[in-house]
């Protein structure tokens, strides 16, 4: 009953070293999440991970880095407005 995985759709790897980012904004938003985890949550990744799970579940078909962006926006909303937590 399932749809076969379409290898071309999934960017199937053939070797090591696939580029992780397709566009500069993707590496930026990846690094921004790392910055927030490190500097606002003391290295605890779990709050971000929970937001990412929620964002992916909300729109399963959305491109991954867009879900990542939505997760970071939601996480930033939880930060105190004044700055450093």
């Amino acid at each position: 009953m399932s749809t076969p995985l379409r290898l071309s759709d999934l960017d199937m790897p053939r070797r090591n070293g696939e580029l992780a980012f397709d566009a500069p904004w993707q590496s930026t938003v990846f690094a921004l999440a790392a910055a927030v985890v490190e500097h606002a949550f003391g290295g605890d990744r779990e709050p971000f991970r929970q937001q990412l799970i929620t964002a992916i579940a909300a729109e399963p078909g959305r491109p991954y880095w867009e879900s990542w962006t939505a997760a970071l926006e939601a996480l930033v909303e939880t930060l105190p407005r004044t700055g450093l937590a």
Partner: protein
């Protein structure tokens, strides 16, 4: 068509949102100067499956290391200098002739960054995340890794607590190969468990 301004290409809505996040976080002092460039550089050039390949090759040539790796992955991986974000609690699962292991993250995209880098696009795909749990034998065959019916498949769902790494079987005929050369045989996919060597 370019108008010759500072932004000749149209900026997509998501790019605008990321730029807004960047400005906001910089204003709050959460993004030190050069932080984005440094993180990007590390993940594009230093952190990747070549690290995991060294771990696997060492385990193939050094039985004591292999034992430590299987008993306590995080510590054994740190012996080779790898650790950090998303590598907090590493569990290494060993393929044998009778057992094939494969890793997935059903909820998001948890993945052992220090040894494999960032996950490939297909690892984050809803189809992979759902189907690898439901029908691993079919999915593995579709991905070019057919297994005999008598090979047991174990699917490991990564989580906040645990990140898995597959220790692939050493290919036959490599008994005399030096460790560095062995590392060159180890592919990312074999350490995720969607390929055999």
């Amino acid at each position: 068509m370019s108008t010759g301004g500072h932004h000749p290409a149209p900026v997509s809505p998501v790019e605008q949102r990321v730029a807004a996040l960047e400005a906001l976080l910089a204003e709050r002092g959460l993004v030190p100067e050069g932080f984005i460039e440094e993180i990007t550089r590390r993940y594009e050039s230093e952190i990747g499956p070549m690290n995991g390949a060294q771990v696997v090759a060492r385990a193939w040539v050094d039985p004591g290391y292999r034992q430590r790796l299987l008993a306590e992955g995080t510590g054994a991986i740190a012996e080779l200098g790898f650790g950090g974000a998303e590598g907090g609690h590493m569990v290494v699962v060993e393929n044998t002739a009778a057992v094939h292991n494969v890793i997935v993250c059903t909820l998001c995209s948890c993945y052992p960054w220090p040894v494999l880098g960032l996950p490939p696009a297909w690892y984050k795909d809803p189809a992979y995340r759902a189907r690898m749990v439901r029908e691993p034998r079919v999915v593995l065959a579709e991905m070019g890794c057919p297994l005999r019916d008598d090979v047991e498949i174990r699917v490991w769902d990564s989580s906040a607590e645990v990140r898995y790494l597959v220790l692939p079987q050493r290919p036959p005929g490599t008994e005399d190969m030096p460790e560095a050369e062995l590392a060159g045989l180890v592919t990312r996919d074999s350490m995720i468990g969607v390929a055999r060597l």
